[in-house]
């Protein structure tokens, strides 16, 4: 039947059950009746009357009377059913339908509600008509019934609400209201609207809770005091029956206690929830209910005998669990353990507290007081319910049995605990499981079963340790210590004790107690002395820092090293320690670089303090123990084209990270890893470790060279040894042994030749101790005298560069040997002293030879090199030194640089000749130059060099050049070549002392073919009709070449003797304009024949055209010797001179690079050409030496004016 309700509630299909009861006036509800279930919803009047007369006489009155009764009870839900039978109808066919009984009844009673009358025809006949009428009747019946139901329900709800609104009035009783609302719930239940029924109960629940809360807040309702009566019965929830009539009655009679009410309420909720297929909600609500009840009883200050509530809760838990088990299959239960496990653990907890209460947990069993209490508790349970009396297992039986004896209790408690732990573990609530396990352990401890307790304690401890809960760790350890003590696990107990003694979560007294435990054990005079107990160090003390002295932890053989440990003692009291030992691993290191003094001096950064990672004692989390990830980038490139193939990240310490986590540290004291080889142990005896930081110093006398790694730290207290198995980070010290060494190095960046400079001698003594009389013997070299000052000192440093002493140096020089007597110095020290040395470019010839020999090949190279980096020429000077510690001589090479570079050039002016020498200072120093001179080495008296230099002294700054010029004067005929020697004295400009006799700088060179043979003069004339040259117009160029001297030796070879007696030479001229100022028209070069006679002049004319306006330099005119092909004999010579000349020409044109390069290229072209045609009769060109041709018009310029009709204007922007 579809049920539509007011207030927009969704229509529902309901099943409404109804009872038909014979009408009695007494059954009609009185005003204020609240029973809804027995409420008459619809009144039906049945009549079979077919006779009008009969109707008029009796039936009508009867109906009227009925109606009046109904009206009096204000019931408007009625129905009149007229049953017709065919038989009767047939008799009355003449009767008009209008006047049928039905109509009459309708007329009489149903004035407006014609539907209140139904005709049922022939109900007993199986005809279609009767069927129809039945249907119509039933439909009507249903509709009306539902209408009435709805109306009455609404009215009921309204009444209920009104009643609820009255709750603040003094006389209001919760129980009454409870019954009313429950009625509604029943109705809903009847309608199978369990959800709605549940809502009713929930509302009641909430209302009650609210009252309790209000009561707690001081706003007490009268009726509530009733619920505050002492609890006398605690027989738990009863969930087996749908309605616990017993309790309901109590409530109805207002005799229920709080527990009764709650129990009843919950049992109803439970029933409905199970109808609704929500058993898990039952368990959840049950837990809430139980907690709530306990709270409410407390809040209402209800007096409860001790243990009563525990009984109630325990019974209730089990009841709920059994109820749920009863309605679900096994798989379902297992899948929903998480919902029920709370109840299990709650029951366990309660049973435990009951057990403690009743003295069932103690070792001795319950005493009489306990027994009395037990009896009282059992009395409160009442008799077992009839429903469960026959069942083999019921909460009631269980509790009764558990409380009956110690053994039974143990059995039940263990069962419950194990079940709970298992459930918790299964659903992954490890922590809860451990907590229950701990309770169990406590139980075992009470029962004197430490071996069973230990497992649980260890398990719990592991969990707490892993998650770093310090307080829990401490507490559990305390229990564990007790347990281990009982078990006699000495080692474990001591370890736990040591952890506890160092645990600052404990009180001072407790810590002291545990510490004393250890000390007591340690000081026991045990017969078996060899057996020592080894415990890990970290609980006892913590290694904080380690300090080396010397700080770099490197010491030479025989040296002293001290290690200072800072040990943080965790013990609460001072502990006397027999011995602190460090076990050291010794290895001979292959790579001995670390052990040298050099390394020592270079690596001075560390201050010698190694700090160990600070781990929290006892609560060292495992995550902290993991090393940090060491990640590196990785690229893999293809070998062929170096393109990137793969890129990635590598973890370098995978083996550390992916290692299996070590199980509980307390259990794995590795007995194997005790004391390593006894050979290398650092010891420190009889100490007292105060609480807090302690400093322990170890002194080491270094013996064998090698690397010593500190591995283990061991502290012995009587029989107990605390061992730190690994000292991490790795701590090492090195012992080295070193051979004596001598090192000689200049004080400045480079040594300069010619001036005295300081050289530092460093003697590293190594293992050799300098005795008095030990000398260094230096072999003297002429070119490098060793200068010394009597006041020069030797300084002795220690290995760590600390100055130790200073002593004067005694130096004795003989002809061949300079011996330096070294001061007395112990091994592994450094002696330093300085000596002055000077390199003398021993003789002039050496320089000249060097210059000359290098000249041909190197000159050009040098030149270019100097142009690039101005590097100085160097000279190596070797010194042989005999050292006292070795039978072999040490050869040391010192490199000196020659600070100057000199160049010369020949300058000419007509016939006059000048020699220029350019001296360049390549060094960083400034020098003072004096006494410069240029001498002709050949004994040539008719030749004079007239100096044109101003001052006699000149300061020459770094990287500066100074030029000197001499005029060459001669009286007689000139020699072909001139050997010159330039010399200049120099001394450092800064040094005051002039006492030293420094050798002058010399430079030898040779000038050849310097005499002027030809004079070339160039002239440009404007066109005849013009005053000036103009651009674009042709001008005439006149070159006149004049021979100045007679046939001389210089050009004898080239001169051609002609038949008529005088000689001629062939010259080639060439007019070149490199700067493209001029266009040379016509032949720009030609060969002329020149008579070999003074004043012989040859003039050449040609046309040139200026291309630009302005002052234009003249085009160059060049002269070459034009050699006929016949001179095969001079081939060799020519080749040489060719190169030489070329060089010279380059020299001349140094400042005009473009020019020179063009010439050179030309020259080389010619030379290759000549080389190729060596065998062929070809004329050759040969340039003149510089100075042989004097061009008087070099540098002349001529004014060119622009032509007026210049249309093209070229603008060059550069």
């Amino acid at each position: 039947m579809e049920w539509r309700r007011s207030y927009g509630r969704a229509p529902k299909m309901i099943h409404l059950e109804s009872n038909f009861v014979q009408f009695k006036e007494e059954l009609l509800p009185k005003e204020g009746n609240k029973a809804l279930l027995t409420f008459p919803f619809l009144h039906i009047y049945w009549t079979e009357c077919g006779d009008t007369e009969l109707y008029k006489t009796t039936v009508k009155d009867d109906i009227t009377k009925w109606q009046n009764v109904l009206k009096a009870h204000s019931s408007v839900d009625w129905l009149i059913v007229v049953v017709e039978s065919d038989a009767k109808k047939k008799n009355k066919t003449n009767i008009l339908p209008r006047t049928s009984i039905v109509d009459k009844i309708r007329n009489d009673f149903c004035n407006k509600q014609s539907d209140r009358c139904v005709v049922l025809s022939d109900p007993l006949k199986d005809s279609s008509r009767s069927q129809e009428s039945w249907n119509a009747f039933l439909t009507k019946l249903r509709t009306l019934l539902l209408m009435s139901f709805t109306k009455n329900l609404g009215k009921f709800e309204d009444d209920m609400r009104t009643l609820r609104e009255k709750r603040t009035e003094p006389g209001w009783s919760f129980c009454e209201y409870f019954m009313v609302q429950e009625e509604l719930a029943f109705v809903f239940e009847m309608l199978q609207q369990f959800e709605d029924a549940l809502v009713q109960y929930d509302e009641l629940d909430a209302l009650f809770s609210q009252y309790v809360v209000n009561f707690g807040a001081g706003d007490g309702a009268n009726w509530l005091t009733f619920f505050c009566q002492p609890v006398r019965s605690w027989n738990g929830l009863i969930l087996r029956k749908p309605i616990d009539m017993e309790k309901r009655e109590l409530i109805q009679n207002q005799e229920a206690t709080l527990l009764d009410l709650r129990s009843y309420l919950f049992s109803r909720q439970c029933t409905l929830l199970i109808f609704l297929q929500r058993p898990w909600e039952v368990s959840q609500r049950a837990l809430e209910l139980l907690h709530n009840c306990v709270q409410e009883l407390k809040l209402l200050e209800v007096s409860v005998p001790p243990g009563a509530l525990d009984c109630w809760v325990f019974l209730s838990c089990l009841e709920v669990l059994q109820r749920i088990e009863g309605c679900c299959d096994r798989a379902q239960i297992e899948a929903n353990v998480s919902h029920t496990v709370g109840l299990w653990s709650y029951a366990t907890e309660k049973l435990k507290s009951l057990g403690y209460l009743c003295g069932l947990v103690s070792e001795k069993g319950p005493n009489s007081e306990d027994l009395n209490r037990t009896v009282d508790l059992l009395a409160g349970l009442g008799a077992e319910r009839p429903e469960t009396a026959n069942a083999s297992q019921s909460p009631y039986k269980k509790l009764k049995e558990a409380l009956s004896s110690v053994e039974a209790f143990e059995k039940h408690y263990l069962d419950l605990s194990h079940a709970t732990i298992e459930m918790y573990t299964n659903i992954g609530r490890i922590r809860s499981a451990k907590l229950v396990g701990k309770d169990l352990a406590e139980f075992y401890m009470r029962k004197k079963g430490p071996q069973k307790a230990e497992v649980y304690l260890q398990g719990a401890l592991k969990t707490y340790l892993a998650e770093g809960w310090a307080l829990l760790v401490t507490h559990t350890r305390k229990q564990l210590a007790e347990c281990q003590k009982q078990l006699g696990q000495i080692e474990n107990y001591l370890q736990t004790s040591s952890l506890l003694a160092g645990d600052n979560h404990l009180t001072e007294e407790e810590r002291k107690r545990f510490c004393q435990e250890i000390l007591d054990f340690a000081n026991q005079q045990a017969e078996n002395q060899a057996q020592k107990v080894i415990l890990p160090m970290h609980s006892f003390a913590q290694l904080k820092t380690l300090h080396f002295d010397p700080p770099n932890a490197v010491v030479h053989v025989g040296g002293k090293l001290s290690i200072e440990l800072t040990l943080l003692s965790q013990m609460p009291i001072p502990v006397h320690v027999d011995q602190v030992a460090i076990h050291v691993h010794f290895s001979i290191e292959k790579n001995s670089y670390r052990k040298t003094a050099e390394w020592l001096t270079k690596h001075k950064t560390s201050n010698g303090v190694i700090t160990f990672p600070n781990e929290i004692p006892g609560v060292s989390l495992q995550r902290n123990n993991l090393p940090a990830l060491e990640l590196y980038e990785m690229y893999e490139r293809s070998p062929s084209d170096n393109s990137l193939n793969t890129a990635g990240i590598i973890c370098k310490n995978v083996h550390m990270l992916l290692r299996r986590q070590e199980s509980s540290s307390s259990l794995d004291v590795p007995s194997g890893l005790t004391l390593e080889d006894g050979a290398h142990v650092l010891k420190c005896n009889n100490l007292t470790l105060e609480p807090g930081d302690n400093k322990i110093t170890f002194d080491i006398q270094a013996k064998e060279p090698g690397t010593y790694t500190l591995r283990q730290l061991c502290t012995s207290v009587g029989k107990v040894q605390f061992v730190l198995l690994h000292i991490y980070p790795i701590v090492q010290y090195d012992v080295y042994s070193q051979e004596p060494q001598l090192k000689v190095e200049p004080m400045t960046e480079s040594l300069l030749a010619g001036i005295p400079q300081k050289v530092k001698f460093t003697v590293t003594t190594g293992h050799y101790a300098m005795k008095s009389g030990d000398t260094l013997q230096l072999s003297n070299a002429d070119a490098m005298p060793i200068l010394y000052h009597p006041e020069s000192k030797a300084v002795i440093y220690s290995n760590t560069r600390e100055k130790i002493s200073e002593s004067s140096l005694r130096i004795q020089s003989s002809e061949k040997i300079t011996s330096i007597s070294l001061p007395v110095a112990p091994a592994y020290h450094v002696i330093e002293f300085e000596l002055e040395v000077m390199y003398l470019p021993s003789a002039t010839e050496s320089a000249v030879v060097k210059e000359n020999s290098a000249n041909k090949e190197n000159h050009r190279k040098n030149k270019e090199k100097q142009k690039q980096d101005n590097c100085m020429a160097t000279v190596d000077q070797k010194v042989t030194i005999d050292c006292p510690w070795s039978i072999y001589s040490t050869i040391i090479a010192l490199t000196f640089c020659i600070p100057f570079n000199a160049k010369h050039s020949l300058l000419s002016a007509g016939k006059r000749k000048y020699v220029q020498v350019c001296v360049q200072n390549l060094s960083e120093l400034c020098f003072q130059l004096s006494d410069y001179s240029l001498k002709n080495s050949a004994e040539c008296t008719d030749l004079q060099l007239v100096p044109l230099n101003p001052a006699s002294q000149q300061v020459m700054y770094s990287k500066q050049s100074i030029f000197f010029v001499w005029e060459l004067k001669w009286t007689k005929e000139l020699p072909l070549s001139l050997q010159c020697l330039f010399s200049v004295s120099f001394c450092p400009a800064t040094s005051e002392e002039q006492s030293l006799t420094l050798k002058p700088f010399t430079y030898g060179f040779q000038v050849e073919n310097f005499f002027t043979l030809y004079h070339v003069k160039t002239e440009i004339f404007p066109p005849l009709d013009a005053e000036y040259c103009k651009t674009g117009s042709l001008c005439s160029l006149e070159v006149s070449i004049t021979r100045l001297v007679e046939l001389s030796e210089v050009d004898r070879d080239e001169a051609l003797t002609e038949s008529d007696g005088y000689c001629t030479t062939k010259l080639m001229y060439e007019v070149v304009d490199n700067s493209s100022n001029w266009a040379v028209c016509g032949k720009s070069s030609g060969v002329i024949s020149m008579p070999v006679a003074p004043r012989a002049t040859h003039k050449v004319h040609m046309e040139v055209m200026p291309l630009f306006a302005g002052y234009l330099p003249f085009p160059d005119v060049r002269l070459f010797k034009y050699l006929p092909h016949h001179s095969a004999h001079s081939m060799q010579l020519d080749a040489d001179s060719w190169i030489e000349n070329d060089n010279l020409s380059v020299d001349k044109n140094v400042d005009d690079q473009a020019d020179s390069s063009s010439i050179r290229s030309r020259g080389s072209l010619h030379s290759t050409a000549s080389g190729e045609h060596k065998g062929l009769p070809m004329p050759r060109l040969q340039p003149f030496s510089p100075g042989q041709v004097f061009n008087s018009s070099t540098g002349m310029q001529i004014l060119v004016i622009p032509s007026k009709d210049d249309h093209v204007l070229e603008v060059n922007v550069t």
């Binding site: 707690g216 709270q295 407390k298 918790y424 609530r429 922590r431 907590l435 998650e467």
Partner: protein, 139 residues
């Protein structure tokens, strides 16, 4: 209000735990530690949900006879656990929620402190004061 407030790191070790001084501290430690079971359960149940829409408040973790334990988890899986006396019925969900929010804000302030290393125990006066204020408001 609250009787114990704990901040627990992602790795389930306590960053901060403080309880009413009058009561047994150890008991609260056990309670909070055990409650982590339920927190883990709830987080893993929530794990599938979208991260940004996730509700940080975990609600009542579990009630015991005397206390109610509420949980809250930040996006960085730092857990806040608050233990409330069961008898204190005036505390509704909304109040608990707002207390957690306050706690979270204060915790965020700590994290913003450049001198605080995430993962270290919390030693902050401001945080202490805030927690104290939450525990002191006894109704």
């Amino acid at each position: 209000m609250a009787v114990c407030i704990a901040v627990i790191a992602k790795e389930n070790y306590p960053l901060y735990i403080r309880s009413v001084p009058t009561e047994n501290e150890l008991k609260f430690h056990y309670t909070v530690h055990t409650s982590l079971d339920v927190v883990d359960e709830k987080i893993s149940a929530m794990g599938k949900a979208l991260v940004d829409q996730r509700e940080l408040y975990l609600g009542l973790l579990y009630p015991t006879e005397d206390y109610k334990v509420y949980g809250y988890v930040t996006n960085s899986k730092v857990k806040f656990v608050m233990v409330v006396d069961s008898s204190n019925t005036a505390l509704r969900d909304n109040e608990i929620r707002s207390m957690f929010r306050k706690l979270h804000n204060s915790y965020t302030d700590i994290m913003c402190n450049p001198f605080y290393n995430p993962g270290d125990r919390i030693h902050s006066r401001a945080f202490d004061t805030m927690v104290n204020s939450m525990m002191m408001q006894v109704c």
